[in-house]
């Protein structure tokens, strides 16, 4: 918990509500490992403003798991308490097709100013420190409607000017390279951390602070970010989770994964 003031909700709960707000009725989302926060956000969206939103949860490939309860592993058997399930091989096809998934929830051990994500290596690939687990499906960021990035680590090791290894492409090296690539995906749309939400400047394609979480000072974010982050004051505060949202999140999370 990185907030300075005491609140009656956790950073993860706030992040889940922020992400839920990005999801629209009728859309379809996909996510990878370590996905309790995005899973909670998807289910929250379904139970509030987006009843026909669909999502596929990790390697079980269950579709619209009921989150009874929210689980920590992306391949947990209990995720099959779900509307239905599809084979992983089909999900790989749909990710490649590129017009099925509107949202990809991404993260990384490094995330850079242009939203590129690294799950492989800090330092050189040959002699990394640390060596990350690996990219899994992150290269598919190039073929998805929009990318929502989340991380529990808002610090200068995670937020760097340029990733040491690109697992999943954000806006590449900025406007020129992004235009040249002509990818079908829309690129990163938002980043949410325990401190703030960030979007991308449509001109520079660099990360900019969009809102500060309640109780967070701008200076905290600037110091915790390893690149020059764009700011357009006055910055709003991120809306706190509503009581209804918190009720829903806590009903699906008896084990307190988000607390």
């Amino acid at each position: 918990m990185s907030l300075d003031q005491p609140t009656d909700w956790s950073a993860s709960e706030l992040m889940a509500t922020v992400l839920a707000g990005q999801l629209r009725d009728g859309e379809v989302a996909i996510m990878g490992t370590g996905s309790a926060v995005p899973q909670a956000s998807c289910r929250l969206a379904q139970l509030t403003h987006a009843p026909n939103f669909s999502y596929i949860a990790g390697g079980t490939c269950s579709v619209n798991p009921y989150q009874q309860p929210l689980v920590a592993s992306s391949c947990d058997y209990r995720l099959l308490r779900a509307e239905t399930a599809v084979p992983l091989t089909d999900v790989v096809l749909m990710e490649g097709r590129g017009d099925v998934f509107d949202i990809f929830f991404a993260g990384g051990i490094q995330i850079d100013a242009y939203g590129n994500c690294n799950l492989v290596a800090v330092g050189s690939w040959n002699h990394p420190h640390p060596r990350g687990p690996g990219s899994v499906g992150l290269p598919f960021l190039s073929r998805v409607g929009r990318i929502l990035i989340y991380t529990m680590s808002h610090n200068r090791r995670t937020f760097v000017e340029k990733v040491d290894f690109r697992s999943g492409p954000g806006f590449l090296e900025g406007p020129a390279s992004w235009r040249e690539a002509g990818l079908m995906g829309g690129g990163p749309a938002m980043v949410v951390t325990p401190l703030c939400t960030m979007t991308f400047n449509p001109e520079t394609l660099r990360m900019q602070i969009a809102s500060l979480h309640p109780g967070v000072e701008l200076q905290q974010v600037v110091e915790a970010t390893g690149f020059e982050i764009e700011i357009e004051p006055p910055l709003p505060f991120t809306p706190s989770p509503s009581p209804e949202q918190l009720d829903i999140l806590r009903a699906m999370d008896p084990n307190g994964l988000l607390r």
């Binding site: 490992t33 370590g34 309790a36 990790g58 390697g59 079980t60 490939c61 269950s62 920590a72 592993s73 992306s74 391949c75 947990d76 058997y77 209990r78 099959l80 308490r81 399930a85 084979p87 992983l88 091989t89 790989v92 990710e95 490649g96 097709r97 590129g98 799950l119 492989v120 690939w125 040959n126 002699h127 990394p128 420190h129 640390p130 060596r131 990350g132 687990p133 690996g134 990219s135 899994v136 499906g137 992150l138 290269p139 598919f140 190039s142 073929r143 290894f165 690109r166 697992s167 999943g168 492409p169 590449l172 690539a181 990818l183 079908m184 995906g185």
Partner: protein
């Protein structure tokens, strides 16, 4: 059906290209992995599918992997994979860095006799192809003339897979998620299957479309009740978080890894291991999640 030691000794040759099934903390064929370690069989190449955990990290810790082809080795929310991390940081393991789409499509190519496999445009914007020219290269799309990233077919010699049920011949049913295990069976020259329970062929026949792997692809079936421990076996038991955390703690260095291997692998047989863990596994039994076929 054969004994686990006979299955491993007769099918896994030293230096083979081995693929381990399951994904993340689930359905890891740990009984077979432990037996390979007991017999000291080197895997010339080890493939994860796409996300390895204990299945890969333990073989790496035992020093039995010459080359690792993977898109992920880790323990999800429990932490990084200690032996994978150490060997990678030391530069003492050759890594063929991959992504999930290549592993899935490469296995498809291997299974189908496709000489190579084009990958969706956009995947070339990761750094993966740059560091793994053995698996990835470029060619021209003969229809459009565009440059296309392509992958080499994945052709494992031995697949180590876990199924919840099979008949004695190896008609196997994966209850719960299948991950890439069906495709792995299709792509691999030999399949060794460890199962929670043997059922009759009549039981298999009563749900023919529910079979995941047909017997004629399976070389050996081994009964391994609790054989995924400390990972989960979908529909049977969940992963043993306490034991996994103990492993992650011990495996922080080589000495601890060796101690773990001695205690839980080398100085025990698979039967004794499963016996010693039976109470723990019982306590990890899944709540009934789904209306299931009879177990």
């Amino acid at each position: 059906m054969v004994s686990i030691s006979d299955a491993v000794s007769s099918i896994v040759e030293d230096g083979s290209f081995v693929v381990v099934g399951g994904m993340h903390l689930h359905n890891n064929p740990m009984a077979l992995v432990r037996e390979i370690i007991r017999q000291g069989r080197r895997t010339g190449k080890l493939l994860t599918s796409p996300c390895g955990a204990m299945n890969a990290d333990l073989l790496l810790g035992a020093g039995l992997v010459d080359e690792l082809i993977t898109s992920y080795v880790g323990f999800e929310h429990l932490g990084l994979a200690p032996n994978f991390r150490r060997l990678a940081e030391q530069g003492s393991i050759r890594i063929l860095e991959c992504d999930e789409p290549y592993i899935a499509h490469g296995l498809y190519a291997g299974a189908g006799g496709l000489p190579f496999i084009p990958l969706p445009r956009g995947l070339e914007y990761s750094d993966i192809p740059k560091v793994n020219p053995e698996s990835y290269t470029y060619t021209e799309d003969p229809f459009s003339g565009e440059r296309v990233l392509v992958g080499a077919p994945l052709l494992p010699e031995v697949a180590l897979l876990h199924a919840q049920l099979s008949d004695a011949q190896g008609n196997a049913v994966l209850l719960g998620a299948h991950f890439l295990d069906r495709l792995i069976a299709l792509a691999s020259k030999h399949v060794i299957l460890q199962v929670e329970r043997i059922v009759s062929t009549e039981e298999i026949s009563s749900h023919p479309m529910g079979t995941t792997i047909p017997a004629f692809l399976v070389d050996a079936v081994v009964v391994a009740t609790g054989g995924c421990h400390p990972t989960s076996s979908h529909a049977f038991y969940t992963y043993d978080e306490q034991h996994l955390r103990q492993y992650l703690e011990m495996a922080r260095d080589e000495r601890g890894t060796d101690e773990y291997l001695t205690r839980y692998v080398r100085q025990t047989t698979e039967a004794l291991y499963q016996q010693s863990m039976a109470d723990r596994i019982d306590s990890l039994r899944n709540e009934a999640v789904l209306e299931q076929r009879a177990l």
